[in-house]
């Protein structure tokens, strides 16, 4: 990191912030489209195998998804509050709120791990590994392929986002950001909100319908 946050090829800090924000939004657009391929596959197979998908969806624990949604939404809220603290120049508060978000993310991953362990026991596994006796309708194994792809990719994003929040939070604790310059706080927050946003759509698709 250079001493001054202003890079030599920008004329002002605002312009640099605008560039960083736009770059982040473009990156988020690529993330959205990355998940889109999986959602499109989900849509197609749900259309082709309505019965298999409905039964499989009922065979998994809805309450875990429900609790995880509450957890993730709350973590998004603490991240937003962290940005608010950064805007006011309160780096320590930002760090604490980000730490809370990381904690909630760990709770999320913990529930996810319990859920995955359960699927492994039951044989609710993708493709050729599917041995679950409870649902034998066609398309059930595809449901679990998509289930693991979507939630797995999302979990990877949770881990990346968590790490970003941890790093930025640590920097905020050391007073690296000011009321004028806190772009990394904002960007890490944007990423985390996207992780939340994806889950908001994953939850009903996987667990509810």
């Amino acid at each position: 990191m250079q001493a001054s946050p202003l890079a030599h090829h920008f004329e002002s800090l605002e312009k640099q912030a605008h560039a960083a924000r736009l770059g982040m939004w473009l990156f988020l657009a690529t993330e959205v489209l990355l998940f889109t391929a999986l959602f499109a596959a989900y849509g197609v197979y749900r259309f082709l195998y309505p019965e298999g998908f409905a039964q499989s969806s009922r065979s998994i624990e809805t309450w875990i998804g429900f609790v995880n949604t509450l957890v993730l939404v709350t973590s998004s809220f603490t991240v937003a509050m962290g940005l608010d603290a950064a805007v006011k120049g309160n780096g320590r508060r930002t760090a604490l709120l980000f730490a809370a978000s990381v904690g909630l993310a760990l709770v999320f991953l913990g529930f996810k791990a319990i859920e995955y362990a359960h699927h492994f026991q039951e044989g609710q596994l993708p493709g050729r590994y599917y041995t679950f006796e409870g649902v034998q309708a066609p398309g059930a194994s595809l449901y679990f392929s998509l289930y693991f792809l979507i939630t797995g990719l999302h979990a990877i994003h949770v881990i990346i986002g968590m790490s970003a929040l941890a790093i930025v939070g640590a920097l905020a604790w050391r007073g690296r950001f000011t009321g004028e310059y806190h772009i990394p706080v904002e960007l890490a927050g944007l990423y985390w909100h996207l992780v939340d946003l994806v889950w908001i759509f994953v939850f009903p698709l996987i667990y509810l319908i």
């Binding site: 920008f10 736009l22 990355l34 391929a37 993708p126 050729r128 194994s141």
Partner: protein, 556 residues
């Protein structure tokens, strides 16, 4: 007329303090550079290398097809050769060559900027490219793949060849493409010089901008798709496997959702180059600036609505096929807008028939010929006859490869003086252009005829009645290869011993020609203030936006 007549300026003809030697010259300073010009040059070197590799595969394919039966390789090796030819040419050469190479070098200079918005990401993009290329190359050496560059399921999930490393290589290359596109979009939005409004931007930038939009929106879908195939191949999760309820046609939807727009990732930068070349070499403002600029965005947008025309015979519904067939033809409208505006620019221009202009002529031929066969192929009933024949092969080589290579070579010659500070031998340049254009035609026109007679693509052996045309095609390919080698040789010689070019050997009014050759590390000594559109030959003689003094316009 002599392009290298002495420039009327106090700036030395060869800029002594340039990006090539400042701040340092060592290998390390290149490998850790954040200068967009150096990164652009590194991309150019790397992509040219892979162009040669892909060309080598192409020559081996053509030699194998010289006789109806086995010629030099066995059938399995042949399958690997055409796969690797496609993978190398598309992912390692054509997609990055013009945007990452010339785009990187020129975009900030043309915008009047000091660098791209995120110089570190820019360097990262190059290393990601190298990483992807290395993994793909490793896969090629250790077995290669025999699926064709399209990796169609279910074959690609069952083949015994090493398809996974190549898939991963292409997946990683996608990130390089995304990073470059992201950088260009942000740079265009935030780093335009004072006075550089959107409608004063060079048309090169408009086209590169449209390319970047496609890179951002389409590449992630390809990445996911390749990953799914790799998972399917390695673990059998059944997403595309009909035995487990999967739909292989879904793979084709996903693949072409990226790969059809990818055609425009290759062709739009070609159009970017051509829009610059046509102005400079007819010494005339572009005809219909707005039409050319917005049609780039139009192509980028409409290009996304056409992917289904690759699936006409794959079991796609007739309803979807009809929609895609009609939508595909819209691309023709925007392309035609550009073609008519370029040709209208020539009208009453003062044309200097230099090497880049020769490539412009070749480009126009390939684009129009290839485009018209594309309209024919987008007609569902006709496509049923031509699908998977050499007609399709010839069509996409004309429009995608022909147009892109013409533009790549035009750019290489047009900006050679800017990048290296030296000029190439004009006579040899025209000889090379003639060989390449003729060779390309003799390679692929026979293939149009072969396809129309029903010869399927990707076949190792063929009936004897197809023999003469195959010989003609191989002969054409040899001429093409010879022309390309000739170009490489004289350009390498000119690097060292070419005459010094001066800042503006073409008497162009493009913004990049107002900086010294080779450009200094900071591009513009003072941030230029833009008061007129690029290539504004009406105002020739007025003060330039910054940098060097103007040259008197060369009357011819």
């Amino acid at each position: 007329m002599s392009p290298s007549s002495a420039p009327v300026s106090e700036v030395p003809a060869y800029n002594p303090r340039n990006y090539l030697n400042s701040p340092a010259t060592g290998l390390r300073s290149w490998l850790t550079t954040r200068d967009h010009k150096r990164i652009g040059v590194m991309f150019l070197v790397a992509t040219t290398f892979f162009f040669a590799v892909g060309g080598l595969f192409a020559m081996l394919i053509r030699i194998e097809l010289l006789t109806p039966g086995p010629t030099i390789v066995d059938a399995m090796t042949y399958n690997r050769l055409f796969t690797l030819h496609g993978v190398v040419m598309i992912f390692l050469f054509m997609i990055p060559a013009i945007p990452s190479g010339f785009g990187n070098f020129l975009l900030p200079i043309m915008l009047g900027a000091r660098d791209v918005a995120f110089p570190r990401l820019n360097l990262l993009s190059f290393y990601v490219y190298l990483l992807g290329a290395t993994i793909a190359l490793w896969g090629m050496i250790h077995g290669g793949a025999d699926t064709g560059w399209t990796f169609y399921t279910p074959y690609s999930t069952q083949t015994v060849t090493k398809v996974v490393p190549i898939l991963l290589g292409a997946f990683i290359l996608g990130f390089s493409s995304i990073l470059t596109g992201l950088n260009f979009i942000v740079t265009t939005h935030t780093l335009r010089a004072p006075g550089m409004t959107w409608t004063r931007m060079p048309l090169f930038i408009w086209s590169i901008y449209a390319t970047s939009v496609i890179q951002i929106l389409a590449t992630p879908v390809l990445g996911m798709t390749l990953l799914l195939v790799a998972i399917e191949n390695a673990f059998g999760w059944g997403i595309f496997d009909p035995a487990r309820g999967g739909d292989p046609v879904l793979f084709q939807h996903f693949f072409w959702f990226y790969s059809h727009p990818a055609v425009y990732i290759m062709v739009l930068p070609a159009m970017a180059v051509i829009s610059e070349v046509v102005c400079t070499f007819s010494h005339k403002n572009i005809f219909g600036y707005n039409a050319v600029a917005y049609s780039s965005l139009g192509i980028a947008f409409v290009g996304f609505f056409t992917w289904g025309h690759h699936l006409f015979t794959s079991g796609q519904s007739a309803f979807d096929a009809g929609i895609f067939g009609v939508l595909s033809m819209f691309v023709g409208i925007f392309t035609a807008i550009k073609v008519f505006n370029w040709t209208a620019t020539l009208y009453k221009g003062s044309i200097s028939f230099k090497t880049p202009f020769a490539y412009f002529v070749g480009f126009l031929f390939f684009l129009v010929f290839g485009g018209m066969t594309g309209i024919a192929l987008a007609t569902v009933s006709l496509d049923v006859h031509w699908q998977d024949t050499y007609f399709v092969v010839a069509h996409f080589h004309f429009i995608m490869v022909g147009a892109t290579i013409m533009a790549f070579l035009a750019a290489l010659h047009y900006w050679f003086p800017k990048i290296t500070g030296r000029t190439y031998p004009e006579g040899w340049g025209l000889v090379g252009a003639t060989l390449v254009i003729l060779g390309f035609n003799f390679t692929f026109i026979p293939q149009f005829l072969l396809g129309n007679e029903g010869m399927p693509r990707r076949y190792y052996a063929y009936p004897e009645r197809f023999w003469p045309l195959n010989v003609a095609s191989t002969a054409g390919a040899s001429v093409l290869a010879f022309g390309l080698v000739l170009i490489l040789v004289y350009l390498l010689v000119s690097l060292r011993s070419g005459p010094v070019a001066g800042p503006n050997p073409w008497h162009s009014r493009g913004f990049e020609w107002f900086v010294p050759s080779p450009p200094p590390p900071e591009n513009w000594e003072v941030t230029p203030v833009i008061t007129h559109p690029p290539h504004d030959y009406h105002h020739a003689g007025e003060a330039p936006p910054g940098g060097v003094e103007p040259e008197p316009r060369h009357a011819s």
